[in-house]
Symmetry: C2
C-alpha cells in the first residue's frame, strides 16, 4: 500500500523512513515537507498539492510538531485518506475529538500512535500486572533535551509540551499496562524563566504512583518505571524495552528500533480492517497536569 | 424523591437550596458539610456517615470546589447512589472519565451540570444559529471576583481554575449553541505574581471566535456573546439570559434564577429514565487553554 509521510525532520529520518522501508505492507510514495526530502521519493512542499496530485496514495502519516499538525490532518481526512499521527495526536484534545468525528464520517482509518507502547517489554509487563494489586509505582524519565531535540525551540513554546514530549511516552506505557484507570492528583511544573513549557515535572497519580520527569539530565539517560505489587516487584527499563521481575532480567531487548516498524504494521492492520485506534488517555493526563499543576519558575534555558 | 446536598457554602445557599425547595420532584433530606447546615434538615459532616445512615436517599448533589470533589463523588457512586455535579465536574478530565465508568458500572445516573446552559435564551440562540454560517464570534465575560467569590482563595490555587470558573460558563453556552464543534487555537493567560490560577485570559477558537475573560471588572458586569452570521447578528447578554437579533431584543428574561430549578428538573428526568448526561466539552476547552496557553505574569492579587 502506498503511503505519504509529512514532516521530514529528525524523527522521520531516524525512525519513520527506515520503518516504512523495512515494511512488507508499505511503500513510501511521497513526502510533504518545507525543506526535507527522501532520495528517490516524490517530494511536495504542501499537503494540498500532494492530495490533488496523488489520488493513488490512500494513507498519510504525519510527523509534524503538534501545533501545525491539525490543519494538515484535517486536509488529509477531508480528502478521504487514512491518517496516522505521531504522538501526541494534536496540540489540543478538542482538535483530536474533531479528527475522530471526521474520520468516522469519512469512513477512513485514524491511528493515534504511541510508539513507546510498542517497546519490547510493554505487552509482557501488562500481562504480568493483570490481576495484581499495585501498592506503589514510580516513574523516572530523565533525558537530555540538548541531545534528543537539539535546537528545537518549538518544544519550549506554548503548546510544545516541554518535558511532556518525552514524558507522555511514559504515560502512554503507564495507561497501557495498569490494570486500573489512573488519574492525576497533583503536579509541580518547572518553567524556565525564558520559556513557555516546563523543563521538569513531578506528578502524583492515583494508586500511589509518582512520576519524575526531567529534560536536564546529562550523562546516562533514565527511562524507568517500577511497581511494588502484592506479588513482587516489576521494573520496566530503557523506555519499556527491558523487563525485570524481583530484580532479575525477564525479557525484552535493549533497543528501541522495533517500535516504529510495529506502529506501521498496526496501521496496515487498521487500514485493512477499516478500523481506527485513538486512545487519548496519555494526553488527558498531560492536559490535567497543565490544568491542575503548580507552576514554579526555574533558571532560564538555552540550547 | 429524597436528595442530599454536599458542600453548604454560598452557591448552595443562594441557588441549590431554593431550587430544591421549589421543586415538585425533590425533598432536601440531608446535608453534608464541615460547617454549613440548612435549618430543619439532618446535617452530616462526612459523606461516609450520611451514606451509611440514610440508605433511603438515592441521589446526592455536590456543590464542592473541584479539587476535593472526586473522593466524595466516588463514595456516592460506590454506594450506588445517583450523582449530580456542580460545574466543573472535576479538577481533572481523567477523574471524570473514571466517574463516568463507575456510574455506568453501577447503573446509576450521573449528571454533570452546566447551569448557564439553562439560561433563558440559550435554547432560542441554539435554534436561531442552526444551519447558519458564523463569520465571527466574540465572547466578553468580565466580572468582579471580589463580589462573586469574596475571600475564596481556593479559586486561585492550583486546580481552582481562576477566571475559568466563570469563563467555563461562557464555554458551556458556546459549545451548546454552535452548529459546529469548536477547538482552541491559542490562549494568553494572565497569572497574578502571587497566585497559581489565571485572573484573565484571552482565547482564540476555531471559526474566528474569541473570548475575553477577566476577573477584575469593577462596576457593571459583562457576560455577553455576539455572533456575525450570513443571516444577521445574534447577541446573548446577561450570561445567556437575554437574546438580541440584529440589535433588537428578542426574548429571554433578565434573571438568572431559572437556571438551578431547570437543573434539578433535568436531574429528576435523568433519574426517572435511568440515564446519564456528562458532556465534557467545556472542560476540554479549559484544559486545552492551560495546555496550549502562553503564561504572562501580572500584578499580585489580594481579595
Amino acid at each position: 500500500m502506498k503511503i505519504a509521510l509529512a514532516g521530514i525532520g529528525k524523527i522521520a529520518l531516524d525512525q519513520h523512513v527506515p520503518a516504512i522501508a523495512a515494511s512488507p505492507d508499505w511503500e513510501l510514495a511521497a513526502t510533504i515537507s518545507r525543506h526535507g526530502r527522501v532520495d528517490g521519493v516524490e517530494a511536495f512542499t504542501g499537503i494540498t498539492d500532494m492530495l490533488a496530485a496523488r489520488p493513488d496514495i490512500a494513507t498519510v502519516s504525519l510527523c509534524l510538531p503538534p501545533v501545525p499538525r491539525f490543519e494538515v490532518a484535517q486536509a488529509v481526512l477531508q480528502a478521504g485518506r487514512n491518517l496516522m499521527l505521531e504522538k501526541p495526536p494534536g496540540a489540543t484534545l478538542a482538535e483530536v475529538h474533531i479528527l475522530q468525528d471526521m474520520a468516522h464520517a469519512k469512513g477512513v482509518s485514524l491511528y493515534a500512535t504511541w510508539h513507546s507502547r510498542m517497546a519490547h517489554a510493554v505487552a509482557a509487563a501488562r500481562a504480568w500486572l493483570a490481576g495484581k494489586t499495585i501498592h506503589e509505582g514510580r516513574i523516572i524519565w530523565r533525558e537530555d533535551v540538548r541531545k534528543w531535540h537539539p535546537g528545537q525551540d518549538w518544544i519550549f513554546e506554548a503548546g510544545g509540551m516541554g518535558v511532556f514530549d518525552p514524558g507522555i511516552n511514559a504515560l502512554s506505557i503507564l495507561t497501557e499496562i495498569l490494570p486500573q484507570p489512573v488519574h492525576l492528583t497533583g503536579a509541580d511544573l518547572d518553567f524556565p524563566d525564558n520559556r513557555q513549557a516546563p523543563i521538569a515535572a513531578r506528578l502524583s497519580l492515583s494508586g500511589n504512583i509518582t512520576a519524575d520527569l526531567d529534560f536536564r539530565q546529562e550523562g546516562p539517560q533514565t527511562w524507568d518505571m517500577e511497581f511494588q505489587t502484592d506479588a513482587g516487584r516489576l521494573a520496566l527499563r530503557m523506555g519499556g524495552n527491558l523487563l525485570e521481575v524481583d530484580g532479575e532480567p525477564s525479557g525484552g531487548a535493549d533497543s528501541i528500533m522495533g517500535e516504529y516498524p510495529a506502529l506501521y504494521a498496526r496501521m496496515a492492520e487498521l487500514v485493512q480492517q477499516g478500523q481506527s485506534e485513538c486512545d487519548l488517555s496519555p494526553m488527558v493526563l498531560v492536559s490535567d497536569a497543565f490544568t491542575l499543576g503548580r507552576r514554579m519558575t526555574v533558571e532560564p534555558f538555552e540550547f
